[in-house]
């Protein structure tokens, strides 16, 4: 029996970005470790140095075509602080509207376009049919619902920002123009269909879960970790303008109501020699014990409540199914659907707010501070933009801590657990494609965005040690 010690899945597919999984096995074919290796480096943190901070909303939007809004908003929020002002009420509401719309389109993409071929068509579906077009053929109504939900989010972004992808709207101090009545009405007119589509997706997925769904893998992908997310002043679910809450796997509070500027006290980044993506961890617990997660799973774990009726009932059902603190990585799929509902309802409320259409959307000031951290909830989790500028407003330091990077440790643990479960002891010839796809699905559950996560290689003091299987030190590097 051939027993390859190293298995490589490359490229990873139906994810956002370039990566591979390398699985290391010992002579008996037992999996020692599976590693997610990110294969790109784009260097935003480096090439933005020396540029004016006012360019950052437009520049950093280009980090990612799926969540350009998140980067634009975090960059604008950091800019607000450099000007030492707060945007006008209408601008704050429009920023929230953009953030909510983006979560809808991104979650719809992750669930319907990318993951549902695994979840609804089944693991054993041949790769030629295991994609969006296969879903269109097999479950056309569901595919339409998913496509329309993504369109709802994209159209709402376009109504505010003028363009669904890389729209130039958010700037330090607010936004470039107010929302027109016809733009608001377009969003409002599309809401009833979006609600129907979200309900259809949820009901269909609950059928899958009721039939056992991914239950056989629950124990394997349940991972003890901390969870980080934004919450409102009452601990409610929140995507813009909240404060940081960090909880442990049993729900105990590690930190609560902390401002963006505290991120460096709470979190630190480690590096491994085999990846271009850093490994953030909770500073107080050290590396790698300070493993934490961000994103839909984390947001639903850290919040006390969601303020709207339908989302609250979906959250209650989700918690009944999965527990109060959900450790199961595959529950992220349902969490995304719950969040789509929460976003639709939050948008509905915003559209009724008379201040939304106020023509004053920008406050102006000159540079008043030299350092700032902007943050917000991107679809994949909490995002931080940390800037330091010189008195001319030119950037001297840029650190982008993105959601996918923060899930790096958890993603590696999850694929290692899945690889052990599926591959231990199997000869290479008896590993079918569908089994490798199941390991990839462990990554897809996190909906990673690797374009976002590969900005720079480390700015912090770094010590890397390399051990062999017996634990003896092979190499060491310090910086």
């Amino acid at each position: 029996m051939t027993m390859e010690r190293r298995l490589v899945i490359e490229p990873l597919t139906r994810i956002e970005g370039h990566a591979r999984i390398t699985i290391h096995r010992d002579r008996q074919g037992l999996v020692q470790e599976a590693r997610l290796q990110v294969l790109e480096r784009r260097g935003f943190e480096q090439f933005c140095l020396g540029r004016p901070f006012t360019e950052m909303p437009a520049l950093t939007a280009r980090i990612c075509g799926i969540c350009p809004v998140s980067h634009q908003l975090a960059a604008a929020a950091a800019g607000d602080q450099l000007l030492a002002l707060e945007p006008p009420p209408a601008a704050r509401r429009l920023r929230s509207l953009l953030a909510l719309a983006q979560i809808i389109q991104s979650h719809a993409l992750a669930f319907f376009h990318l993951s549902s071929p695994d979840l609804l068509l089944g693991w054993e579906t041949p790769p030629e049919r295991r994609h969006l077009f296969g879903l269109i053929a097999a479950e056309p109504e569901l595919a339409r619902a998913g496509i329309r939900l993504r369109q709802f989010g994209q159209d709402a972004i376009e109504a505010v920002a003028g363009q669904s992808i890389h729209g130039a709207w958010a700037v330090p101090g607010g936004g470039l123009h107010s929302l027109r009545v016809d733009g608001r009405d377009r969003i409002r007119d599309a809401l009833p269909q979006a609600r129907l589509d979200a309900r259809f997706g949820l009901e269909r997925y609950k059928q899958v879960l009721d039939r056992g769904g991914l239950a056989d893998l629950e124990a394997i992908v349940s991972l003890k970790s901390l969870f980080l997310g934004l919450v409102g002043p009452e601990g409610q679910w929140c995507v813009q303008g909240g404060a940081l809450r960090l909880i442990e796997a049993d729900g105990r509070l590690q930190a609560d109501q902390r401002p963006a500027g505290d991120y460096g006290q709470l979190l630190a980044e480690a590096e491994e020699p085999w990846s271009l993506m850093t490994f953030p961890y909770v500073r107080a617990l050290g590396y790698p014990r300070g493993l934490y997660r961000v994103g839909p799973l984390a947001r639903l774990n850290v919040c006390n409540q969601i303020g709207t009726a339908w989302a609250a009932s979906e959250l209650a059902e989700y918690r009944q199914r999965n527990g109060r603190i959900v450790l199961n990585a595959f529950a992220s799929h349902q969490a995304r659907l719950v969040e789509i509902v929460a976003c639709l309802e939050a948008i509905e409320q915003l559209l009724e707010d008379p201040e939304l259409l106020d023509p004053l959307v920008r406050h102006r000031a000159s540079l008043n501070r030299l350092e700032a951290v902007g943050m917000g909830e991107a679809p994949r989790g909490t995002l931080f933009h940390h800037y330091r500028v010189n008195p001319d407003g030119l950037l001297e330091h840029v650190n982008l801590l993105v959601a996918t990077g923060q899930n790096n440790l958890a993603m590696n643990r999850t694929i290692t657990a899945l690889a052990r479960h599926h591959l231990d002891g199997l000869g290479t010839a008896s590993i079918p494609e569908a089994l490798l796809n199941r390991i990839e699905a462990g990554i897809r559950a996190f909906d990673p965005c690797l374009s976002c996560a590969t900005h720079a290689a480390g700015q912090m003091a770094l010590q890397v040690q390399l051990f062999d299987a017996d634990g003896s030190l092979l190499a060491e590097r310090r910086r």
Binding site: L12, H18, T22, G43, Q46, G65, L132, Q151, Q154, R477
Partner: protein
């Protein structure tokens, strides 16, 4: 939906691929912004390769049209671009990064490039067991500097309308970019 989108041609199904070199996925998202017209697209063409959207691990032979997003930033991108050219009838540079490197090319401003970090020096991993990480090219290149390109669709990203028009012209066997069409713009 315009009527020509739903007419299924009598000839064999077309083979469509997309590729994503060094870029942000925004051009792929613009393609997905065709929304329900994607269903009409599925009636005309099979998606045979697209790391973002389907699970083909190898770029196949006999592809009729490939939309290529992103600039050529690594040795791996360059080899992939050449493989695409060998196996594809029509190659489209989709978006500004593919056409003139755009934001991806901003890394030329970095004095040391991006290739000289400790991480890359140490890459290779435990006992050299991990396959090496891709080598960045000293300069980011436009797609056309590496392979011949049949059509270019500028924009950051190009709008879904323009991508839809190009695909319609493709299955109607017309020139991909109409010679008398509106001017093409970057940005």
């Amino acid at each position: 939906m315009s009527p020509e989108f739903v007419t299924v041609p009598a000839r064999p199904r077309l083979r469509l691929a997309t590729a994503w070199l060094a870029g942000c996925s925004g051009c792929h998202m613009a393609l997905l912004d065709l929304h329900l017209e994607l269903i009409a697209l599925a009636a005309h063409a099979d998606l045979v390769a697209s790391a973002a959207l389907c699970d083909a691990k190898e770029y196949p032979d006999r592809v009729d049209l490939c939309l290529v997003e992103g600039a050529v930033a690594s040795e791996e991108n360059r080899q992939f671009a050449r493989r695409i050219r060998e196996r594809t009838a029509l190659v489209v540079a989709l978006g500004d990064c593919a056409i003139h490197t755009n934001i991806t090319g901003l890394r030329h401003r970095c004095r040391n490039g991006l290739g000289q970090t400790a991480i890359e020096a140490a890459a290779g991993g435990r006992e050299g067991l991990d396959p090496p990480l891709p080598k960045l090219l000293p300069m980011v290149l436009p797609l056309e500097a590496v392979i011949a390109v049949d059509a270019s669709l500028p924009g950051c990203p190009p709008s879904a309308d323009r991508i839809g028009n190009l695909l319609r012209r493709w299955w109607q066997q017309q020139p991909l970019i109409p010679p008398d069409g509106p001017p093409q713009r970057f940005g």
